[in-house]
Symmetry: C2
Subunit: 327 residues, 2 copies
């Protein structure tokens, strides 16, 4: 089985690559792995099969066609520029997030027209397809009214994916990821960065800034859970999904206070004391407009699983990123 990961150098892409290289199968054994991103993805040394990395911009002319010509069995489309950049650079956002996606879908359609071909396509969407005002719990039947260009581009990707799947050009599934927490790496200046910063930094003995109140509620899943969603989406029997191919992924609705409580249980009072409260009304106003909870009953019924307590999310980080050791 040949697996193509577009966006392989990103945080989720790297973790997915590592899981596949470490022997995760997608129903069948994987003997070929093609890794693509705008920055060179790292080829996993551990992988027993054939692995290649390509530095390619999916939106460049002919790029999608070249990738699809090798007829991968499973395509993970994780590529895209993030919300802040898509908002700051309108043209780039539409070029990468919309045109890149459409060119991939069109390349598959063209390849399928040459000789029968119908890959599984897993597309990462986002809760940014929803825009306030929304109900306390946002269901799979809630209207798509994004309030960012990024959310608009993701919503359009979802619609295209459903139509191309319905027409039989590929077998697609779109998964709306919760906010990923704890994001590994350096503190992030994104408005959502503090959700991870206030756990990741104290877990390693460093200070972190909390710009909002403890009652702020949001929707989370760990990087480990996100990779689990991707693997499950790649193997799920899609006849069970029907024509509505884009699903809210399960997650955990939690307050900042609950995050801190989980940190206390895992790493003690000393870690909690590293959180410095510096209220920022700008970030507070942004975050107030975000989804607090999603209803993921369809995904749960289809076997997608996420953490059910914040302590699990924190422990997943300690195990996966810190070798089990709290700093």
């Amino acid at each position: 089985m040949h697996v193509l990961i577009i966006g392989a150098a990103g945080m989720i892409g790297r973790k997915l690559t590592a899981r596949l290289a470490a022997g995760a199968t997608l129903g069948r054994d994987i003997d070929r792995l093609t890794l693509v991103d705008v920055m060179a993805p790292e080829v996993p040394a551990a992988f027993a099969g054939r692995a290649e990395a390509h530095t390619i911009d999916l939106s460049a002319p002919g790029a999608a066609e070249r990738l699809v010509a090798a007829r991968p069995d499973v395509i993970f489309h994780l590529a895209g520029i993030v919300s802040g950049e898509a908002e700051a650079d309108f043209e780039k956002g539409y070029r990468i997030n919309l045109d890149g996606t459409r060119q991939l879908f069109e390349a598959i359609r063209a390849e399928a027209a040459r000789a029968p071909y119908r890959p599984r396509l897993v597309f990462t969407s986002s809760i940014a397809v929803f825009g306030a005002p929304f109900p306390e719990r946002i269901g799979d039947e809630f209207v798509l009214t994004p309030l960012t260009s990024y959310g608009t581009q993701k919503a359009i990707g979802e619609l295209l994916l459903a139509d191309y799947s319905r027409r039989g050009f590929f077998d697609g599934i779109g998964i709306r990821l919760p906010t990923i927490c704890i994001r590994p790496g350096a503190p992030n200046k994104a408005a959502s960065g503090f959700f991870s910063n206030i756990l990741r930094e104290p877990l390693s003995g460093r200070e972190a800034v909390l710009p909002v109140g403890e009652d702020v509620r949001h929707w989370f899943a760990s990087p480990r859970a996100a990779v689990g969603f991707l693997l499950h989406a790649a193997t799920l029997d899609l006849t069970r999904v029907g024509p509505r191919r884009n699903l809210n992924m399960p997650g955990l609705s939690a307050t900042v206070g609950e995050e801190i409580e989980a940190l206390r249980r895992v790493a003690g009072e000393r870690a909690v004391a590293l959180i410095r409260r510096e209220p920022d009304p700008v970030i507070d106003a942004i975050v107030t407009g975000w989804a607090r909870e999603l209803d993921a009953q369809r995904a749960l019924a289809l076997g997608f699983r996420a953490e059910t307590t914040f302590e699990e999310i924190v422990r997943a980080h300690v195990e996966d990123e810190l070798g089990g050791v709290v700093g």
Copy 2:
């Protein structure tokens, strides 16, 4: 005021043109009318101002830019290929309905970048953005899950319109038209054609075929009401609408039996006797998947109005198409 109508040769486009030529204003008097379609639109003789007709395919390179260069104050974007054709010809549907729309939006953005410009843009969408299963009454907050390529293209147009409006490139509003009834002209082979055929033909003394049962329920507005929606959308204060720029238009939920009852009241038993029942399971199956009723409370609150009885719909046809005379 300069008004541009794209799709001016279609049924709604012709009626809108006639209303504007007959003196309907859009807040300000209209002194210039530009009519565009893939087939030559007719220039209304009655119009006092400057009127031009152009035979242009909006999706052709440079077409949108040429139209927008004249900086029309109000743009009605009614152009598109219909559902059946978009389903039969995948590439043409996306080229005309999606790329054409996006090229128009991009042309406006480019024009606005040269010098301040922010036209009102009225886009006709469709209840085809919704797909079964849906609730008995489909609200403005129901998820967009079209089950046709046409519906997908309209839903994407809606999302783009909302984002371009949010970014301030134009002041857009999308209106989801009900099934238009009574469509003037020759009997239509579209699956929905019988809804109009069974009224229009008997009203002129001709037979019509009814392929479904009398209990089939659907969502209707007259051509006259549709033109009313467009005029209202062109002048409405959009600060009242907010970021959700795409609205279910009001209509009338009625059964085929109620249609026939209205025909009986307007044209008598002799007209009703011209309806020939020829059950067609294929059409019945298609129509069963369609929306039966929409909740248009937002549009109603914003002043959009449609007929409230089928008798009004029938009488509108008799007045507007038959000179008040039932054949």
